[in-house]
């Protein structure tokens, strides 16, 4: 099956739900004492739910330690969740054994941040891209042609196939990583900071390529990033994470034009914008302090220790993710308010 015929099938199903994640948690045990018994747990992901449609990009954004990458790794089952469900077209991947998972592995693939660490230096580009085909026993039938087709798809030349990854620049390596991820005709790609290690001019090349591939192949993207400018550019919907939970989620326009959770507002206001004329014209919300330890998160609302609006209720009661303002999208704040923080966002 060529890339285009597989894509035709997916393009027919655009908008159909492909993934539903339900109350997902990942608690990494902390071991201590002489017997290395568990003495606590880092609650890296602590009850996360979202859904993703064919052809759609959902971005998970947040700062280091918010659980976005851990969530992505659970979705492709590189990590086994502590609890919760990962429903892939209705089939729960969360509890499957390795054997049960194998047929599903080809449907969801991941592209990693660091193109220098995620490609073997001992393999040629051809072998890197062919490896998933070999693992799944699909290389014998037209594997070599398939590799050429994939390299072409991501914008690499056929003569690149016999070179080694170290001969390529960062942007080209990331294309190799994308070609590998596409080898088995996946429906869903987890893109874990796919352009964060790249220089600006190269970043734009890879972002454009990812968007083109999505349009052509009908792929669903779970896009994980800390970079809000890129997230604005690539996303249909966005979930903002803080300390293992989603604090606000909505369409791109809802999040950027009408953020209602204080953390979302602080994030958006803190990003420097490359326009000197806006200097001083933006009100910046500067948060004090650092992100608390996920082994011992604050009671009630996890953001309350850095929130300028925190009240007694915030320490006592965990705010549910719900639409309190009737604004069309939910946030996990007891006291949400619409506060457009970006220039030109007020409407």
């Amino acid at each position: 099956m060529t890339v285009e015929t597989a894509a035709a099938d997916r393009l027919d199903r655009l908008g159909e739900e492909v993934l539903r994640v339900d109350d997902l948690t990942m608690h990494f045990p902390i071991r201590g004492g002489l017997l290395r018994r568990p003495v606590g747990a880092v609650r890296a992901v602590d009850g996360v739910s979202f859904a993703l449609d064919q052809g759609e990009t959902l971005s998970l954004v947040g700062e280091s330690g918010c659980g976005k990458s851990t969530t992505g790794r659970m979705v492709v089952r590189l990590l086994e969740p502590t609890s919760g469900r990962i429903l892939y077209r209705g089939n729960d991947l969360a509890t499957m054994s390795e054997d049960e998972l194998r047929p599903w592995r080809s449907k969801t693939q991941i592209v990693f941040q660091d193109p220098y660490a995620s490609l073997s230096p001992r393999m040629t580009v051809h072998d890197i891209v062919a490896e998933p085909l070999r693992v799944q026993g699909k290389y014998r039938q037209g594997g070599a042609d398939r590799v050429s087709e994939l390299l072409d798809l991501v914008g690499l030349q056929p003569e690149h196939a016999n070179r080694y990854a170290h001969e390529f620049s960062g942007g080209q390596r990331q294309r190799i990583g994308i070609a590998r991820a596409l080898a088995l005709d996946p429906e869903l790609l987890v893109l874990d900071e796919p352009v964060s290690a790249l220089d600006v001019s190269i970043q734009a090349q890879v972002v454009n390529k990812l968007r083109e591939l999505q349009r052509r192949l009908g792929l669903a993207y779970l896009f994980i990033s800390h970079d809000l400018s890129i997230v604005r550019h690539v996303s249909h919907r966005i979930a903002v994470m803080y300390l293992g939970v989603i604090v606000e989620t909505g369409t791109r326009d809802e999040i950027f034009a009408a953020p209602q959770h204080p953390y979302t507002q602080a994030l958006l206001s803190a990003v420097p914008v490359p326009d000197p004329r806006l200097r001083g014209a933006r009100e910046r919300i500067t948060l004090t302090g650092d992100v608390p330890n996920p082994a011992n998160p604050p009671s009630g609302c996890r953001f309350r220790t850095r929130c300028w609006k925190a009240q007694a209720k915030c320490a006592e009661e965990v705010p549910a993710l719900e639409d309190r303002l009737g604004a069309g999208h939910p946030s996990a704040c007891h006291f949400p308010e619409l506060l457009p923080v970006l220039p030109g966002a007020a409407s």
Binding site: S201, A204, L228, R232, A266, L267, D290, L342
Partner: protein, 334 residues
């Protein structure tokens, strides 16, 4: 001798590294200056030579060799200064702020003592009590809560953001006239980055120091700098007032960078990346180093190296066809 020239003048600087594969020209004839109290941003991508230029100022480039040019600070060429005089300048008149505070802080000495040492190194007559008071004052200035208690703690007891503060306190301890900040906010989370940017502004206001800000982040430069120097393949391709360069760029590389950027503050239909990738510095292309990626390139660009030319008030571009860009820029800044 106090001259009338700017505080720091970098003139035709060239720095080379010898590698197994040949000589890498990391900086290849870079010229720019920093005036008193001015904040100058140096931007460029990996391999542009921006960090090597910054490290050269204090003679901190280990394996590299100064192959030409001068770096004059207060009219004196730093390269020809005796080691003793250079040491007196380092950490006193010129201080550095690094990307990773742990490279600047000693892990086995309390933060307070490190600041006291920095103070006493350049002021031998300072009493112990006075140095302590001054150190606590500095910690408070950079927004350290409970500065007196923090004075006695070790760097590992500080969070990342707090270490950054401690390092900035140490950098401004001796009232430098030039601060060199090398990627001070890279690798920091957005909310911590915002704290550090505010802090750099405080440090600058407090000391009135000129600041050389090395970064790949055009947003940080737009937010902080008075002037900007754009580097590519070891050369300065454009420089000028920050608003002018961002709104009326006169070098195709600067235009390309700005068009590559996804924007937080507005919707962009399609990014316009610069095709190709930066050249190898082992064998840079002849003529203009940007010509293989440049939409305006023609024969002259492949043979003749463009020199920086004045294209407006305080605005320079090293492009043979800078004038043609005047028509293009509206597309970028609309």
């Amino acid at each position: 001798m106090e001259s009338t020239e700017p505080l720091l003048v970098i003139d035709d600087l060239a720095v080379e590294f010898r590698t197994d594969e040949g000589v890498v020209k990391a900086v290849d004839g870079a010229s720019f200056s920093v005036g008193r109290g001015e904040i100058v941003g140096v931007v460029g991508e990996s391999g542009s030579g921006k960090s090597v230029t910054a490290m050269s100022i204090l003679g901190l480039v280990k394996s590299g060799r100064r192959a030409g040019g001068t770096i004059r600070f207060r009219g004196r060429d730093l390269a020809t200064l005796p080691a003793k005089e250079l040491r007196a300048i380092r950490g006193a008149e010129i201080a550095m702020i690094f990307q990773d505070p742990m490279t600047a802080l000693n892990p086995v000495v309390t933060v307070g003592r490190q600041i006291v040492e920095a103070l006493k190194l350049h002021d031998k007559k300072l009493s112990k009590a006075a140095a302590r008071d001054r150190a606590i004052e500095l910690l408070a200035l950079v927004g350290m809560p409970d500065a007196a208690a923090r004075f006695k703690q070790y760097p590992h007891e500080f969070s990342g953001g707090m270490r950054q503060r401690a390092m900035i306190a140490m950098a401004i301890a001796n009232g430098p006239s030039l601060l060199i900040a090398d990627e001070p906010t890279t690798a920091l989370d957005v909310t911590i980055q915002a704290q550090v940017l505010d802090l750099l502004k405080v440090a600058q206001q407090e000391t009135q120091a000129a600041t050389l800000l090395i970064t790949h982040d055009l947003g940080v430069v737009a937010e902080l700098a008075d002037r900007v120097v754009v580097m590519y393949a070891g050369r300065v391709v454009e420089q000028g007032d920050v608003t002018t360069v961002f709104t009326e760029p006169r070098h195709p590389y600067t235009v390309g960078l700005l068009e590559s950027l996804p924007r937080l503050d507005r919707d962009v239909d399609e990014l316009h990346p610069i095709p190709g990738s930066p050249p190898s510095l082992l064998a840079p292309p002849p003529g203009c180093p940007f010509h293989p990626r440049c939409p305006l390139a023609r024969d002259r660009c492949r043979t003749e190296r463009p020199q920086p030319r004045v294209v407006g008030a305080g605005h320079q571009s090293a492009c043979h066809f800078a004038a043609e860009l005047a028509a293009v820029h509206t597309e970028v800044t609309r």
